[in-house]
Structures are given as structure tokens and as C-alpha cells.
């Protein structure tokens, strides 16, 4: 296995994913397979190759920094799991 449980736990924490014990066991096995598989990239000769930035070889378009959206907070918050007074609710952060 190219990855061990500690590494997978670290990755899961970075990704903000809580896994069950069974999921950890499976993830160690399957992520190791994926990492081993993509490791064949090291065989490619990429000396001096500029990494791709855009598939069409064009530059990113710029736009004027202007306000174009209207305030639709109420409509957007209809999808929120918990809101009050126009604010999103989360567990208490500051004691």
C-alpha cells in the first residue's frame, strides 16, 4: 500500500471529510491503487514543458469590476439548512 491509514486520515481532514472506520479501510486500499496508477506519470519526459494553463491556449478574459448582480439574499437563503434574520446559522464559534 502506497498510503497508510495515518496519511488517509490526514488527507480526509484536509478535505473536511469525516469517514467511518469501514470507509477508512476501503479508502486506504482504493486510494493506494489510484496513487500507484497515476504514479506512471513520472515516466513521462517533461523536461522544459510549460504546464498547461488553458486547453485553448488563450488568456483569461477580463471584465470591468462592476456590480452586476442584484441582492437576492432571501431567495438564495431558501436553500440554506438554517437561517435567522437573514443570517446563516452555524454552531457556536466563540464562547
Amino acid at each position: 500500500m502506497s498510503l497508510d491509514k495515518d496519511q488517509v486520515q490526514h488527507i480526509a481532514m484536509l478535505a473536511r471529510l469525516k469517514l467511518t472506520d469501514a470507509e477508512y479501510a476501503e479508502s486506504v486500499e482504493k486510494l493506494s491503487k489510484i496513487v500507484d496508477f497515476v504514479a506512471q506519470l513520472s515516466e513521462a519526459d517533461t523536461e522544459g514543458v510549460v504546464p498547461m494553463a488553458h486547453p485553448l491556449d488563450t488568456a483569461q478574459r477580463l471584465r470591468p469590476d462592476a456590480v452586476t448582480e442584484t441582492n437576492e439574499r432571501d431567495r438564495y437563503q431558501q436553500n440554506a439548512p438554517a437561517v435567522a434574520d437573514g443570517l446563516y446559522l452555524v454552531p457556536k464559534v466563540i464562547e
Binding site: 488517509v8 484536509l14 473536511r16 486547453p55 436553500n79
Partner: protein, 486 residues
Amino acid sequence: MELHAKTLAELAAGLEGSDFTSLEVTRALLDRIAAHNEKLNAFVTVTADEALAAAARADQARAEGSGGALNGLPIIHKDIFCTRGVKTTCGSKMLENFISPYDATVVEKLQNAGAVVLGKSNMDEFAMGSSNETSYFGPVHNPWDLDCSPGGSSGGSSASVAARFAPAATATDTGGSIRQPAALTGTVGLKPTYGRVSRYGMIAFASSLDQAGVITRSAEDAAMMLGVMAGFDPRDSTSIDTPVPDYVAGLGESVKGLRIGIVRQHFDEGLDPDCAARVKDSIAVLESMGATTVEVDLPNIDMSVPTYYVVAPAECSSNLSRFDGVRFGYRAKNAEDLLDLYCRSRGEGFGDEVKRRIMTGTYVLSAGYYDAYYLKAQQVRQLIADDFKKAFADVDVIAGPTTPTPAFKLGDKVDDPITMYLNDIYTIGANLAGLPAISVPCGFVNDLPVGLHLVGPHFAEQTLLRTAHQYQQQTDFHRACPGDFK
């Protein structure tokens, strides 16, 4: 011919000639969906009421002498496109109850053209999968063999079009997700050039690869759909501002003199010999019509799947960080603190394959591994794109198989991610290089459809559609209907 058997073009002609109304067509297809969808599980949501209302409006518009290019024609949207007022789940528990506050540009354009939306099709969760088995709403079944997968991620769209639920369905392709399901269901699947169709309102998986397209039964229908869907959109920062040709008008041009490139590696031992035979037969048909073939070399193409499985997960890990259990989507109950809320909402809201890809992406982007994986992959990606560019100096299209085998059984590949990933070995190169590509039905192996894959240079959709259309004038594989759905 029964209404459900008609293509988009045939329905358009019938509506124009007052042979039937949009309301009649819409009712017929909704009845068909109600009767047969249980076998396929192709829909997440059927929008019967909205469809009937839209059909009535279309008929009214026609009576008044107005209406757009697709006025009254029935289509289905992949459930990755945001639809205002109708659930958009992306095949995930995370978005099980999400109702978008806005329409995707593709949805808006098709609506403005008068299309009637019958519903939202099932798909692999967040478009991550090649079999439709990662959907939170269960797998879709292939109309040609209900034990088989319809491919993925656009499996609900491909199964629906193959089963004659609708003549056309929108779809998306990040690493073969339009073309592979099209091949496995005997339909046409067109992935346009990166940036040709707006990504606005299309839930993001890997933003440098994602592209919206269409699944139909004829190349002509794909041309009709693309003509409406394509075009510059200021709301998509990678949308390309280049004119949209009249794709339908160009279909009649012959393939005489068309230069077809054949990639040797695409016919190696990984390809089922019977599939290889069908694909070679189809290329011979094009040659008999005046096209010529030449062998072309894509020296780095073998690296395309590993390259993709670094780049796509990296972008997915970044894109899916927006799902935090706070602003929209699934939220875990009784969180201890904010971190617990994030981790449990994501852990419980995402399925296994999505979590695997997020973690793969997190790993390849993490300190100490970025250069070896992500940067390296973007370099190899450039090499692959350069290979295509060189090849297209000598040929107009590259032809080969869409998939290594016909449809596989549901459950067969789900336990081994690498085996599943390799199903997209022939299609992924086009995504990495941003190229347009199409899969066209080219025969059967053991009564299961096989697809011919054509790739063109940037913005050569016209060439692909014309080649596919001309091929379909000489063959009738696209007219074959699965036995249980006649």
C-alpha cells in the same frame, strides 16, 4: 411512424406541417415515460405539469406565427444543469432537495428556443462515474439489456434517448461522460470544444475539462441542438467568443477528400476484437464515400488516463469545497462545532466515489506532492495537446472506438476504480486537449451497440457533425430500437 420514434428533425417537420401538436407529442412521451421509466430509472424528476404548460405555450406561439428554433420539441436535461424552480440534485444526497434560484445558460437558451423539458435525468453523483452506479438515486439500466450499465456519467440522458423517451437530452462530458454512454446505448453523443457551450449553471466538477453537449439519435438532431446551445456567455469566464456556424446547413456536404487519422494505440490489445471489427467497418464505409485514411501518432496518449485522474480530482476537490452544510445542501444533525459540521455534512452527504476523488485531489495538491503529481500532470497534458495539434496538421478528424467494450454488467466494475477509469481510455484525450468529439452508433456486438469515435481540432464541430451525418445516410444503426422499447 409513432411519435416517440421520431427524431427531433422529424418532429419539427410534423409540427410545422400541423400533422400533430406539441401537446400531443408531449403527452405521448410523458405516457411512455410513466409506463417504462421504472425499468430504467432514467429520471430523478419528471416535470409533467411544466412540460404540458410549455407545450401549450409552444402550440400557441406556432399558431401566432412565432416561436424559436426548437419550438414545441421535447427534450430532457441532465440533472447537473440548474433549473429555476425545479430540483437540481446532481445525482447526490448532498443536493437531494436543492432548488436552484436561477437557470443555467443552456437551460435558458433551450427554453427561449421553445424546447419542452420533460424532466431531469439521472446521472453519476456529481458526474463522477462511468456506469451511473454512483448516483444517490440508484443506477440507470441500459435499454438494450437491463442488466447492463447505460454508461456514465450521462447515463440517464443516454438511456432516455435510446428508449425513445425523448429525441434529445442535454449531457456533460468531463472525461467521456457524453460519448461513452452514447456508445453503450447506440445513440449519438457530441462533446463540443471546451468553451463552445456555456458552463454557467452547470454544476462544476473539473472546470478546465467540463463541457456541455448533447445526446440524440441522429447527427442532424445534435446539430439542431448545438446551434441553440452554443455561443458566447459573459457569465462563463472560459466561454469563447467565436461565431456559431449554421451546423444544420453544413450537414449535406460530402466526406469526399476528408482525411481520417487512425491512431495505432487505439486498436491495441485493450480493445475487444469484435468492437474493433465494427469500428474498422465503419471507417471503411467512410472510405467508400471518398474519405482517405492515414495513420497518425499520438505518442503520449497512453498517459491520458493517469493525467486525467490527477487533474480532474484536483479540480473536483477545489470545486466541491463549496458544499459545507451551511449555505445550501445537506447538513449533518447535532454537530458539536463548526469543524464537525463541515466534516460530517460532507462525509454523510457525499457518496464513496465522490469522496475518493476529493481525497485523491486533495492528496495531489497537498504540500510535498504538488510538483510530482499536479504540475507533472499539467505538463503531460500539454504534451498530449501538442500531439493532437501535430496530428491535425495532416488530418481533419481522428477516428477510433469510443469504448474498449460494449456495455458491461451493472456491478461488474464498481469495486475496482482503475478498471472503471480505463473505460474512458479513448475519450479522455479530447477533454485534456479541449477538443470536440462525437460518438456515432456503428454496429452491434452480441446485440449491444458499439460507437465510432471521431475527434476534431478546436471548433471543428461542423466537420464532426457532417461526417457523422453522412455516415448515417449510408447506415441505419441509429434507427435500431431496443426490443423492449419499440
